[in-house]
């Protein structure tokens, strides 16, 4: 009598082998399962040892589905905000990675220099008016419009500023306390709706104007302050009304996600430090030291930044690492350094904005970058891989070169 029990779920003779046209999706290959095979359970590519599908909230480590905490460690001792794909603004507590269905937002440090309470105001601290005496500045309940704009997750009280110049016969101005403090380029931004033409300027330094806006829309302009005491001014024509919230004045060339101010001398949104816990062990078990490859999907809607933007930095020190960056001229660079020097591949400048798929291989004698499936740079330089002790995502290991944009997907595997 046999003591071997056959599993009833296991077909006699085992699973059938598969035709090349129908690779087994249960091993990670894409496509429908071959007849008789179980449905797909893996969304990563075969051979990946680490995969972050930020946009869909799923993660893999060493071939197993993993929790976010098992694959990613986030440090940022300030709150933050970030948008969903539908444009809804979401709050994130300190030390919680800003991840939505748009992806991971790894942001650099920004300071909102406005001194009012730019969300959930209860009074007019930090805001004042000038011009037509008939203009009225108040805090009003605008819950429905804020919710319609996807701002109710931040503007929980439903209150907003209303600057009503409907009874006025001349232009009125609204001043938001908070100076530029220096003459480096600044970006001002505000969510605003209006019944007619309005303008936002940085005192005498210029700005932007628009006609009526029925719903809250984020307006922004980047200007170089004429001096260090420039502040946001909202100009409203006679007979018009504006409602606004989440005003922001920050040093930099683009409007970062809104920073909720506290009425103080500037509110800091600290930088994200995003790392992979236990990366050294994972790199060793996956033999990444022999060369590694991977894929990233990110949104490069904003190009030509004044600073390079790091997608990842894997290594052990600033002179011993592999970095993938978007350079200031929109080229993608894969730079390997060991002992302070090493080869670098650079693609041509990205031609289009929007979502981009970048693949790479870092291997001595056979490195490449592919953009959208097409080889965009390659070389056969020989090098010694730096020690892969840690992994920083969306910024360099020194905390610089923040990606400041959504990283939807990233995966790593051993090079073939």
């Amino acid at each position: 009598m046999s003591h071997i029990q056959r599993s009833p779920a296991f077909p006699p003779g085992g699973y059938p082998s598969w035709p090349l046209s129908q690779p087994p999706c249960w091993r990670g290959f894409a496509g429908a399962p071959a007849p008789g095979l179980p449905a797909a359970t893996a969304w990563w590519r075969p051979g990946d040892i680490l995969a972050f599908d930020f946009a869909n909230g799923r993660y893999m480590r060493d071939g197993e589905t993993a929790s976010l905490g098992a694959v990613l460690s986030a440090s940022r001792t300030s709150p933050a905000t970030w948008f969903t794909d539908a444009g809804i603004l979401q709050p994130f507590d300190a030390n919680v990675a800003a991840i939505t269905d748009r992806g991971l937002y790894a942001g650099g440090q920004r300071v909102n220099k406005c001194r009012n309470f730019n969300a959930n105001p209860t009074d007019l601290t930090g805001v004042s008016k000038a011009g037509d005496a008939a203009a009225m500045l108040t805090v009003v309940d605008d819950s429905a419009e804020l919710a319609a704009a996807g701002l109710d997750g931040i503007c929980t009280s439903g209150m907003a500023f209303k600057f009503d110049n409907s009874a006025g016969t001349s232009t009125s101005w609204l001043y938001i306390a908070g100076n530029s403090g220096n003459t480096n380029p600044h970006t001002m931004s505000v969510y605003m709706r209006s019944t007619g033409s309005a303008r936002m300027v940085l005192s005498s330094s210029g700005g932007t104007g628009w006609m009526s806006s029925a719903s809250y829309t984020r307006r922004s302009a980047t200007v170089t302050p004429a001096n260090s005491s420039q502040q946001i001014v909202i100009e409203v024509a006679a007979g018009k009304v504006v409602w606004f919230i989440l005003n922001q004045l920050e040093e930099g060339s683009f409007a970062s996600p809104p920073i909720v101010t506290d009425g103080g001398t500037g509110t800091t949104r600290l930088a994200d430090a995003v790392t992979v816990p236990g990366f050294a062990a994972l790199a060793a078990s996956g033999s990444l030291q022999d060369g590694f490859a991977g894929k990233a999907i990110l949104d490069v809607t904003r190009l030509t930044d004044p600073a390079s933007r790091c997608i990842f930095d894997l290594g052990v020190a600033t002179g011993d690492r592999v970095r993938l960056d978007i350079l200031t001229d929109n080229r993608i660079e894969l730079a390997i350094a060991n002992g302070g020097s090493g080869p670098a591949l650079q693609t041509a400048a990205l031609a289009a904005t929007g979502e981009v798929e970048i693949e790479w291989q870092v291997k001595s004698g056979a490195s490449f970058i592919r953009i959208g499936g097409t080889t965009a740079a390659e070389n056969s330089d020989s090098f010694t891989m730096p020690e892969l002790a840690d992994a920083h995502l969306g910024q360099s290991r020194s905390g610089a070169s923040a990606l400041n944009g959504p990283l939807g997907y990233l995966s790593l595997r051993r090079a073939v």
Partner: protein, 82 residues
């Protein structure tokens, strides 16, 4: 969250204070950037900035400020902070 504010006569002096405060700690307050310059840990520390007067036309006071937010109390920073 613990909040500390440092004030000193220069950025270099702020960096020196942070350097002294980080001694023996698992996670440093300062990092070296790609050019070899010393930077603060931007995920916990606001970049040092010039203190300005509160006048209508603000002017530098001659001092620098720096703010730090930590999850746990730090005795060294507490002793240095404003």
């Amino acid at each position: 969250m613990q909040h500390y504010e440092l004030r000193a006569e220069s950025r270099a002096a702020i960096i020196a204070m942070l350097g002294a405060a980080q001694t023996g700690k698992a996670r440093p307050f300062l990092v070296q950037d790609e050019t070899g310059d010393t930077q603060v840990d931007a995920s916990r520390i606001r970049y040092p900035y010039e203190e300005m007067t509160e006048d209508e036309e603000p002017a530098p006071t001659g001092f620098w400020l720096c703010e730090i937010w930590l999850e746990e109390p730090d005795a060294e920073l507490a002793a240095m902070a404003l």
